[in-house]
Amino acid sequence: MMNLSINTGSNTPIYKQITDQVRMAVAAGKLAVDDPLPSIRALAERLVVNPNTVARAYADLAREGLIESRSGRGVFVTRKRKMFTREEGWRRLEPLLDAVIGEAMVLDFTPPELREAFEKKLGQWKPRKGGSRNDE
């Protein structure tokens, strides 16, 4: 079971904390295709948050094609679908890369150090099982 937790008082709204964590868990292989997620009600009561907040997070994840609701059986991680074109993907990724590099420069990291850290991080991420990239 995925270990979700939320913080109040954060700059990140609770629904976004949930979507971020589910996304990370899927990307890191902690959640595989067809793994179940808790029901909205169950997760709301576990995290002690309004069920509408969880519903909002699940709706966003479903829109991204990361999870789906199967009638009467619950919410599951879906087979990966390609949501964005390569171009659109780059457009979304680039500002994030800029932010990381900018911050690293401010903190006096050198490009080789950054490259090494990046490689190391990449090694920690398992590719998502059961994924396919061509059903767009």
Partner: protein, 309 residues
């Protein structure tokens, strides 16, 4: 939630002498929502609640609750409303169980299972005397007494006040549990922004007797923005932009918190020619504090119907 609001007021006003405690209040609470009623002490929250429940005569204006005029609330409507006050009124010599038995006589619909469930959740013994209960335990008992008649509208006046962390968590859990019935509306006043973030879908903010916001929590969070402008030298003074809540000037940086951020505002900020300009996320607490800043502006009123930037 598109039906008639559970609570609706128009121009509701209450003067105590020459001083307005609540001024020209236009409030709408949709059915099934959890609304947090926020504002500093003395901003008029309790006065509003007392008017809504027909316990205090408004000076002018009107209001309805569950479709009934607040000036003539029939007992059958009253029985559908659960009200938790700041001061719990209980008889010290009664036991927890006796309190339940006593209260149940006033309600045709009384769910003993709910009563026992709530007092169990707060770890209360049925035989314990009220006078021996801690503050948190009394709060649990009051909550049980209020919930057993299965009210469709709950009005809680600062329910978290004075609770220890354990009792506090039990209260918040109970509120989440209460949303199981989707037609049930919860209206609670609070100073605990962490609770608001967890349980509320809607917020209403009273500031010095005036309603400054009544919208979904999400709309509020989207509407209050923080922008950071960096300058090579000393930053210019904060520009006069509509919706400016707060400005912080430090060396090389101007940080603004504003509401109703839009393209025109962005252009005005770009005209200051900052070396860099970026929007920064802001916590609910910071947003709220900026919103109730000392500027004394009353012109920013957020409501759900406004166009979002």
């Amino acid at each position: 939630m598109n039906e008639q609001p559970v609570i609706q007021t128009r121009g509701l006003t209450k003067y105590f002498g020459a001083r307005p405690a609540v001024y020209d209040l236009n409030l709408e609470v949709p059915r099934g929502c959890v609304l947090a009623f926020l504002g500093r002490n003395g901003s008029g929250k309790t006065t509003t609640i007392r008017m809504l429940l027909g316990l205090l005569e408004p000076t002018r204006g009107e209001g309805s609750i569950l479709g009934h005029d607040i000036r003539a609330l029939p007992p059958e409507a009253r029985a559908r409303i659960g009200y938790l006050t700041e001061e719990h009124q209980l008889y010290g010599w009664m036991s927890v169980q006796e309190c339940g038995g006593f209260q149940s006589q006033f309600y045709p619909r009384w769910n003993e299972k709910i009563f026992r469930g709530v007092i169990g959740h707060f770890s209360l013994k049925p035989a314990a005397r009220v006078k021996d209960l801690s503050r948190g335990e009394r709060a649990g008992l009051c909550l049980g007494l209020m919930l057993a008649p299965e009210p469709e509208l709950l009005i809680l006046d600062d329910p978290a006040m004075g609770l220890d962390p354990v009792a506090h968590r039990s209260l918040v859990e109970s509120m989440i549990y209460l949303t199981r019935r989707s037609d049930r509306t919860i209206f609670f006043s609070s100073h605990q922004l962490a609770d608001v973030e967890r349980v509320a879908d809607y917020i209403a903010i009273l500031d010095r007797s005036v309603l400054r916001a009544c919208c979904s929590l999400e709309t509020f969070r989207n509407s209050v923005r923080q922008v950071r402008l960096q300058f090579p030298g000393a930053p210019p003074p904060a520009p006069k932009i509509p919706g400016l809540l707060q400005a912080f000037r430090t060396e090389g940086e101007l940080r603004l918190v504003c509401v109703h951020y839009n393209e025109a505002v962005e252009r005005a900020l770009r005209a200051l020619a900052p070396a860099q300009m970026e929007q920064m996320p802001i916590s609910l607490e910071e947003a709220f504090l900026s919103y109730l800043g000392e500027r004394g502006e009353k012109s920013f009123i957020l409501s759900e119907t406004e166009v979002q930037p």
